[in-house]
């Protein structure tokens, strides 16, 4: 077990802590995350940048859950076909979720990974939190 432990160290940077951005229920049950800047990230990333990321995520979720003509049409069509249409068709929500996944990947690559941070797609946490993993600052030559 000890061997495996150090093997892990060699392969991956050490996780120093995780920050969780909780849901903001002020507008009801829609998916929305708090834009409050966590203090643990102060040294790592710009407050504005972080808020922009969260705000974009909130906008994307709002788009997914928007009640409008298109979603009503989809709902009515689904009802008429006894909802069997969900078996063949990708719903609007699923399409936006893919968009969100791409956005998060993009943000990670461009902004967060260079700062030793990693955003987790909230869908992998049941849309409860945005988990931000903070990696230790590694000195050169440690463990490699």
């Amino acid at each position: 077990m000890a061997e495996t432990h150090s093997l892990h160290d060699l392969q991956q940077p050490t996780v120093s802590s995780k920050v969780f951005v909780q849901r903001d229920y002020g507008s009801g049950t829609i998916s929305k995350f708090q834009t409050k800047f966590p203090s643990e990230l102060e040294s790592r990333i710009d407050k504005q940048q972080f808020e922009e990321t969260i705000q974009t995520l909130n906008n994307l979720y709002a788009e997914a859950e928007k009640l409008g003509g298109k979603s009503y049409l989809e709902g009515c069509l689904a009802c008429l076909t006894a909802y069997t249409i969900f078996l063949c068709m990708e719903t609007h929500y699923e399409k936006v979720l893919k968009k969100i996944a791409r956005y998060i990947k993009d943000q990670n690559e461009k902004i967060y990974a260079p700062r030793g941070l990693l955003l987790t797609d909230p869908i992998e946490r049941g849309l409860r939190v945005v988990e931000i993993t903070i990696f230790e600052e590694r000195s050169i030559g440690s463990g490699r």
């Binding site: 077990m1 495996t4 432990h5 892990h8 160290d9 392969q11 991956q12 940077p13 050490t14 996780v15 120093s16 802590s17 995780k18 969780f20 849901r23 229920y25 002020g26 507008s27 009801g28 049950t29 997914a64 859950e65 928007k66 009640l67 979603s71 009503y72 989809e74 709902g75 009515c76 689904a78 009802c79 006894a82 909802y83 069997t84 969900f86 719903t91 609007h92 929500y93 699923e94 979720l97 990670n108 990974a113 990693l118 987790t120 869908i123 992998e124 946490r125 049941g126 849309l127 409860r128 939190v129 988990e131 993993t133 990696f135």
Partner: protein
């Protein structure tokens, strides 16, 4: 690389406690394979902590207690079958051939929506990962005394000028979102929890409420239609002074249908009417029964989720976007989980405090150890395996049941404790019970003080760690 590291450690799926502290080369399906880096890839539904059963490799899920779903299905099939065999030929000859067409359409609609209600994930919230749970614990003002149950934790939010209290779920280790409730029959937190319906054998929540509503509405149409057709049929046969008895002798199936439909139609129609009211006011059965927004306490409380417009409410509840399933049943467990913690079950309660303080700084090993805490501390431990037992291609791991033997027995007795309450309703053949069943005060454990909490206290009691509290 970082993505890889993150995905490998999926603590909520890790808790598959092994009985033997030392990994033995053993034909068990869970992580007892330290030598081989990847065994047979397993899907997440195998380790799902709630009381659910999965079929078709995770595509179909039902509550562990399927309730009277076979009865519901049986009644519908028998009544419709008798209708098509006994009544349709006569009515086609004497009236119109539209009748079997309409009947057939309604029947298909009813069966499809019933199966969808039963087999769809109602909106289950996956349990919090240990990291999240410890983060929340840190934020809550803890008295630090672990020898007694702390007071229930609540958080208040303001939604549309209404103060809504969010309760902390001790099983799922998170603050429940608004309108979410923990179903103790299924041992899951379900979003927009309506009720647990034994007739469909599943919870009714955010994702399958529209199926449920369509089911009861179409069933009321079908029942009323069959009832009307059977009455017409018998009336036509009894014409010419032949009498009802003669008609019934000619068509005995119709008598059965008449009885079933007569008793069902009132309760189904009543239920449909009730749910139409709920849909129009954007309420859940749970909220209606508890009177959350009825303002009976004298204060000016209104439903903060209602759009104040019947049409908009109906549209948002029934035709809104279909939210995705949050539990990812068919996702694969990370292969790395085979690197199990070697800690024996006994050691874990003591590790609990350590890892609570320092979950992240212990690195991977610490994460893995802390990840195995939830199942033993919560009563969901034994359900990690037994509910998924019946599937053919899955080897039900006996080692899990032996390791959590004590807890499992408690689980079973708890299950039994809840069944007597339900057996009364199940034994009722009449669908009139449906009205009562839909009443969550009868069968839905929406509050933490469900009967299930009682017997399970012993199981939780001797865990002893700070996490283990009855919710």
């Amino acid at each position: 690389m970082k993505n890889c590291e993150y995905q490998q450690i999926d603590p909520r799926t890790l808790p598959t406690p092994t009985p033997t502290p030392t990994p033995t080369p053993h034909h068990g399906p869970d992580g007892d394979r330290p030598e081989e880096p990847r065994g047979r890839p397993r899907r997440k539904w195998h380790v799902f902590p709630g009381k659910n059963r999965f079929y078709c490799d995770g595509r179909i899920m039902v509550a562990r207690q399927s309730g009277v779903l076979p009865l519901t299905l049986g009644l519908i099939l028998v009544t419709s079958g008798l209708f098509f065999i006994f009544d349709c030929p006569f009515l086609v000859k004497h009236l119109t051939s539209c009748i079997p067409v309409i009947g057939g359409f309604l029947f298909v609609f009813v069966v499809i929506t019933l199966l969808q209600t039963s087999f769809t994930d109602p909106g289950i919230l996956p349990r919090a990962t240990p990291d999240e749970a410890s983060d929340i614990e840190k934020q809550i003002d803890n008295t630090g005394n672990t020898s007694y149950r702390p007071p229930p934790r609540t958080k208040e939010v303001v939604i549309n000028q209404q103060v809504v209290k969010l309760k902390y779920c001790f099983t799922c280790k998170m603050f429940r979102p608004p309108r979410t409730s923990h179903c103790s029959l299924c041992d899951n937190c379900v979003e927009r929890f309506d009720h647990h319906c034994p007739w469909v054998g599943n919870c009714v929540g955010k994702r399958n409420y529209r199926f449920f509503y369509t089911f009861i509405v179409s069933l009321s149409f079908l029942t009323a239609f069959i009832f009307g057709c059977v009455t017409t049929h018998l009336a036509l046969r009894a014409q010419g002074g032949k009498g009802l008895v003669f008609a019934l002798q000619e068509s005995p199936g119709s008598a059965v249908e008449l009885v079933i439909c007569f008793f069902s139609v009132w309760s189904i129609l009543g239920l449909s009417g009730f749910h139409t009211y709920l849909v129009a006011s954007n309420l859940t059965t749970n909220e209606d029964i508890k009177g959350s927004w009825s303002g009976k306490s004298g204060e000016d409380v209104t439903n903060p989720y209602s759009q104040r417009n019947i049409f908009v409410n109906c549209c948002s509840v029934l035709c809104g976007p279909m939210p995705p399933s949050l539990i990812d049943r068919r996702g694969f467990l990370p292969a790395d989980e085979s690197v199990q913690t070697a800690a024996a079950d006994i050691e874990l309660p003591t590790l609990a405090t350590k890892s609570e303080i320092n979950v992240c700084t212990q690195g991977t090993k610490g994460l893995l150890e802390s990840a195995t805490l939830p199942p033993l501390l919560s009563t969901s431990c034994p359900q990690g395996k037994p509910p998924t037992d019946p599937t053919g291609n899955f080897d039900p791991s006996p080692e899990i049941s032996t390791s959590c033997g004590g807890a499992r027995h408690t689980h079973h007795s708890r299950g039994r404790a809840s069944t007597p309450r339900h057996s009364k309703t199940r034994s009722k053949k009449s669908k009139r019970a449906a009205l009562q069943i839909a009443n969550p005060s009868f069968d839905v454990p929406v509050s933490p003080t469900s009967p299930d909490a009682g017997p399970s206290s012993t199981a939780r009691g001797h865990e002893g760690a700070s996490f283990s509290h009855l919710h």
